[in-house]
């Protein structure tokens, strides 16, 4: 979340898209409800009419996976409105200063750039090459040479846009971002969007006009999204579309605005911060690559593309570019002193302490080989299936239920030599060999099930979606032999150290033996790791004195400081108090906008709303005086939230120090134009891997039913996996319905915790398949019947919930118009526990889902696939 949970109450418009917040984040509706009471309008965009939709002022049904069309249509609506209005009225209805000065809308792009709208390569940006290798891979990739600014160090800007004097698109420079944006999204007409999404045009207009009202200066609209957005082959671009819309409406950095990812579990934010993902290190530092021959090479590579860029023609005249040090910058002084170097050196210090030099520490650590195994979830299972990955530790994860094409993943587990599952209960994964159809004679996997303590049985911090690190204390002792995860890791590492110490010939032995590892203290933590010690190390301290550091600005490049995660530096105060433990219920923020800055602590530097310098004008005065995030006063300086950089406002600062607001970007302005993603600087409508359409209605590229898919019809860079022949691809003729998977309020993820709980099983006792009244009538399905939902991967039996909440949609154009029906299957159920599925495979929705992933993140496409449903 750019903002935080409580801040939702400050919104004037709330669009929940790709999320079912009321069901999966019930507490969020405390704040949504407060906003509604204040007069906010709630818009729910979802293929299914959910408990979220039940509270919405406008409900917009869309075909699953068509977010880019839906939002693209809104971007077109806003752009068209902006262009049509007179400059004076335009500035009243939209925050044109924000758009022109705080985003890259006015900047000029490379003259050779060519859009997907270019008829010579429909659906593809310039620079594409299709991949021909017949192995798990992306289907193609881009060389981004022509995606950047025309002037790479001092991008020029369109004066007519900055001065707000233009009336026609041709008044803007041809390659100005805003004009390119119009060029790209002008194709997304209401009619076209309706044909793609199936959402009636009238509903589209209602949503567009209502949400666009949040663009006025002083108004705020928030987008709440979750897995319905991300779990697509174009999931990252879905979010890009939201970001572009929010920037056009001036909704980033302000109270009640933002792009708010509702994380799927209470600590997903924390696990991401701490490098759950395979391509990053703690604090989102780049992962080491095999080409980074030493630490300097790594830092140079990681910093490249982060050099400072200063846009020309904007009122702000410089960017902070937080990632990269500029020797001329008075704010950060000292040679070879880039933040990146501080962070990585302090991280290596935290890991190896005085047991190794920084260079030695770097040399011990594994480097990622670009052509080697891919360690995303999908990649790991392909690796297991191919016999490359031989052992697996599943920590609070249950891929036999939660993984895509889960029958395929269950089969893959049989090839492991060993498997360690750490969980509260026996899981489908730890018992994969007990599943129906498993031939135990052929399974040699040695399985260990370690009993874990639950959240009430241990202390430690969790980081919520709003980036708040909140300390929790132990309420009761763990039962029987169960232990906190930290204690298990601690024992494991100490044992590994012992074994490596004893074996002088062990490969890369020092990587383990030299680890700085000493988390046990006295008393309660005499025999297990003390989370307080870990927290302090994550925060960072001066090595020699042990004094906690209060800001990542104090981290050093010379190895005299350590910090396990620079983002968390500042969680401790100088006396060593952990602010994650603070519980002050007084809201001392300006106008009590609900920051509660002394309740827990949030990264970075306790900044509750990031990019908050975009919430004020050049004089430091908030756009919205009712909900000021920060405000500048010549006597007192900045007040309110911790500002995104403490420099004076643009108009008050001296020339050459007028800092632009988006400090994490090297240009200092936000990315409406975003060349960082692999499949293009702007989102384009791409069909899911399994699509009911014959032609992509935006790009005009036809459906190629080949296994890999067709670039331009499908996402040209998406990841298509193979899972030892298990991952079949279906076609519309065989699988006429659109399947989607999701969670229910009453159950938790893969169900380990909730399917063993009678109170929750009582509420949702059995796996269900939800479908519309029309489809049920066609198939002769009655409410409560057992139905079989099948895809090219497998089939599951569920109880039919026939409901008018699932609406038949009409999609396509002209003669090829067709109706489509969604079938929804929750994925909670399995074959172990108190409540199990109806079919022997456990009736998990993920038996149905494909082993394909997003182009940027490889998150599986859980949300859209083709399926069939029949009465059993």
């Amino acid at each position: 979340m750019t903002n935080h949970w409580i801040d939702i109450r400050n919104a004037d418009r709330i669009m929940i898209i790709g999320s079912n917040a009321a069901e999966n984040h019930p507490i969020s509706f405390k704040w949504v409800t407060e906003a509604k009471e204040r007069g906010a309008r709630l818009i729910s965009v979802d293929p299914r009419f959910t408990r979220t939709s039940s509270k919405a002022d406008i409900y917009a049904p869309i075909r699953s996976g068509t977010d880019i069309a839906f939002i693209g249509g809104m971007i077109r609506y806003v752009l068209n409105d902006i262009q049509t209005l007179t400059p004076a009225n335009r500035a009243k209805k939209y925050n044109m200063t924000y758009v022109a000065e705080y985003t890259n809308a006015a900047l000029i792009i490379d003259s050779d750039f060519e859009d997907t709208a270019d008829p010579s390569h429909p659906g593809l940006f310039i620079g594409y090459t299709q991949n021909t290798i017949d192995a798990p891979s992306t289907i193609g990739s881009y060389v981004k040479t022509n995606w950047g600014y025309s002037n790479t160090t001092n991008p020029q800007s369109s004066a007519a846009l900055v001065d707000n004097t233009w009336t026609a698109w041709t008044d803007l420079d041809e390659k100005c971002v805003l004009r390119l944006l119009w060029n790209h999204f002008s194709r997304y007409t209401l009619e076209k969007v309706s044909q793609i999404t199936g959402c009636p045009q009238g509903t589209l207009e209602d949503v567009y006009s209502s949400y666009a009202e949040s663009g006025a200066p002083g108004k705020a609209g928030t987008i709440m999204y979750a897995m319905g957005t991300t779990q697509h082959t174009h999931g990252t671009q879905n979010i890009r579309a939201y970001a572009i819309l929010q920037l056009l409406l001036g909704n980033i950095g302000v109270a009640g605005g933002g792009i708010n990812a509702l994380r799927g579990t209470s600590n997903v934010q924390g696990s991401t911060d701490m490098c759950l993902l395979e391509h990053i290190l703690p604090g989102y530092l780049s992962m080491f690559k095999h080409t980074d021959v030493d630490l300097n090479a790594y830092i140079n590579r990681a910093e490249s593309g982060k050099s400072i860029v200063t846009p020309a023609g904007l009122t702000g005249d410089r960017s902070a570019s937080w990632w990269w040090y500029d020797t001329t910058d008075p704010y950060i002084s000292g040679a070879d002193n880039s933040n990146y170097r501080k962070y990585i050196v302090s991280l290596l210090k935290a890991w190896y302490g005085n047991n190794a030099t920084t260079d030695e520490a770097y040399s011990y650590l594994p480097k990622k080989n670009g052509s080697g195994p891919n360690y995303t979830h999908i990649g790991v299972f392909e690796g297991i299936s191919a016999g490359i990955v031989k052992g697996l530790m599943c920590w609070g994860q249950n891929p036999a239920v939660g993984g895509p094409d889960s029958e395929g993943e269950r089969n893959a587990l049989e090839k492991l030599e060993w498997l360690v599952v750490t969980d509260l209960f026996e899981t489908e994964t730890s018992s994969f060999w007990k599943r129906a159809g498993a031939n135990t004679a052929n399974i040699a996997t040695e399985v260990y099930l370690l009993p874990a303590a639950c959240s009430y049985e241990k202390q430690g911090s969790i980081s919520n979606s709003g980036r708040w690190a909140q300390w929790r204390y132990k309420a009761v002792a763990p039962i029987n032999e169960s232990k906190p995860d930290l204690a298990i890791v601690d024992e494991l590492v100490l044992k590994l150290k012992e074994l490596y110490e004893a074996d002088a010939t062990a490969p890369n032995r020092e990587a383990i033996t030299r680890l700085h590892w000493g988390y046990r203290t006295s008393g309660q933590y005499e025999h297990e790791a003390d989370p307080n010690v870990v927290a302090k190390e994550i925060n960072g301290y001066t090595w020699s004195t042990g004094t906690a550091l209060t800001s990542f600005g104090s981290l050093k490049t010379d190895g005299t400081t350590c910090s396990g995660n620079w983002l968390y530096c500042g969680m401790f105060d100088s006396s060593g108090n952990n602010k994650a433990k603070s519980r002050d219920t007084v809201d001392a923020s300006l106008n009590q906008i609900g920051l509660y800055s002394n309740w827990s602590w949030c990264w970075p530097l306790n900044r509750r709303i990031i990019y908050n310098r975009a919430s004020v004008n050049f004089d430091g005065v908030p756009w919205d005086n009712d909900h000021p995030v920060i405000s500048y006063n010549t006597t007192y300086g900045w007040q309110g939230d911790v500002p995104d950089g403490g420099w004076a406002p643009i108009n008050i600062a001296d020339a050459g120090s007028k800092y632009l607001p988006f400090i994490m970007h090297r240009e200092g302005v936000a990315h409406i134009w975003g060349p960082g993603r692999v499949e293009g600087p702007l989102p384009e409508v791409y069909e899911p891997w399994e699509s009911p359409l014959d032609v992509n209605l935006i790009t005009g590229v036809g459906n190629d039913t080949s296994y890999k898919g067709k670039p331009g019809f499908n996402n040209p860079c998406c990841y298509v996996g193979y899972l030892d022949g298990d991952n079949g691809k279906g076609v519309h003729a065989d699988y006429p319905c659109i399947g989607t998977t999701y969670r229910l309020t009453e159950h938790w993820q893969a169900g380990q915790m909730t399917r063993n709980h009678p109170w929750l099983i009582e509420l949702q006792p059995q796996p269900i398949a939800e479908l519309g009244v029309e489809l049920a009538a066609d198939r002769g399905i009655q409410n409560g019947d057992i139905v079989r939902v099948s895809t090219a991967r497998g089939s599951v039996d569920c109880i039919a919930v026939v409901t008018p909440r699932f609406r038949r949609l009409t999609i396509g154009e002209g003669a090829s118009q067709k109706t489509i029906d969604h079938v929804g299957v929750p994925w909670h159920w399995g074959y172990i526990g108190l409540s199990t599925g109806i079919s022997p495979n456990g009736s998990s929705g993920n038996v149905l889902t494909p082993h394909v992933g997003d182009a940027n993140t490889t998150i599986p496409e859980y949300k859209t696939f083709l399926c069939q449903v029949q009465r059993v």
Partner: protein
């Protein structure tokens, strides 16, 4: 009507059912074995192990659909059919206004269940012996008399459930209902102000009460009035009159017989 009340705002309820689970947790009630009957709603009915539940109502109107959620639990009526019917006085009105009960006194007769206009009290009665006890929402008597909100209210994330003085909640409820009326819900209302002498569970509804499955004007059964207000006094009167009559008869008859004997 003084005392405390629970205010349920249907327009704020997201049917997360935290209340339903919190009720079971606080009151130590067992999970009930259920099956999916083609709806999210479960268990199908209240029981001795389920004192409150959320009902799911799908309403279609001209192609648009609404999903409505209604709380179902004891309404804590002022004119409570259950209290009237309870022969053992196990059910009684608490000074805070709600319908409390002393489970020790319960005979298991089930009259409360039969005379409740909302079908709330349930019993685990053995059909043959008749042994059993009634259970229903206690208004979290153990909590509210110790300064805590009822468990369901304490759990509700959206503020759909509130607890407080009935008078204040009435004002708040009507104010909200009027706001809703102005927001395109002409039938919006506050349910429970006058029903059965005034309920201690009030409902803010954006549609008519009947859409939410609530009786618009619930009445105590005529048979109950007949029993309590006619039959019982008549019975006492008749038995009294007969006893007195027989007593007089005895005295007179005895006197006459004694005289007869003397005469003889």
């Amino acid at each position: 009507m003084p005392g405390k009340a629970i205010l349920f705002d249907a327009t704020k309820c997201t049917a997360c059912r935290g209340c339903q689970v919190a009720c079971k947790q606080w009151n130590d009630l067992k999970g009930v074995e259920t099956t999916n009957r083609g709806t999210y709603e479960n268990p199908a009915n209240l029981s001795v192990e389920t004192w409150m539940k959320i009902r799911f109502i799908e309403e279609t109107n001209n192609g648009s659909v609404a999903w409505l959620f209604a709380r179902q639990a004891c309404m804590h009526c002022t004119d409570a059919g259950c209290i009237n019917a309870c022969p053992t006085q196990a059910l009684y009105r608490h000074t805070l206004g709600f319908v409390a009960y002393d489970k020790n006194l319960c005979s298991g007769c089930g009259y409360c269940a039969e005379f409740c206009p909302y079908d709330i009290p349930h019993l685990d009665t053995n059909q043959i012996t008749g042994f059993g006890k009634m259970d229903k929402c206690t208004f979290c008597q153990d909590r509210v008399t110790n300064g805590l909100d009822p468990a369901c209210v304490a759990t509700c994330p959206t503020g759909a459930l509130q607890f407080g003085d009935r008078g204040e909640l009435l004002m708040q409820g009507w104010s909200r209902a009027r706001t809703l009326q102005g927001q395109g819900h002409p039938d919006a209302t506050l349910y429970g102000e006058n029903q059965l002498g005034g309920l201690h569970v009030l409902y803010i509804l954006d549609r008519g009460a009947s859409t939410y499955g609530l009786p618009v004007d619930p009445q105590l059964p005529l048979a109950q009035t007949a029993l309590r207000d006619i039959m019982r006094p008549v019975g006492y009167g008749l038995v009294g009159a007969v006893t007195v009559g027989l007593g007089v008869n005895y005295l007179v008859a005895r006197a006459r017989m004694v005289r007869e004997k003397e005469d003889r």
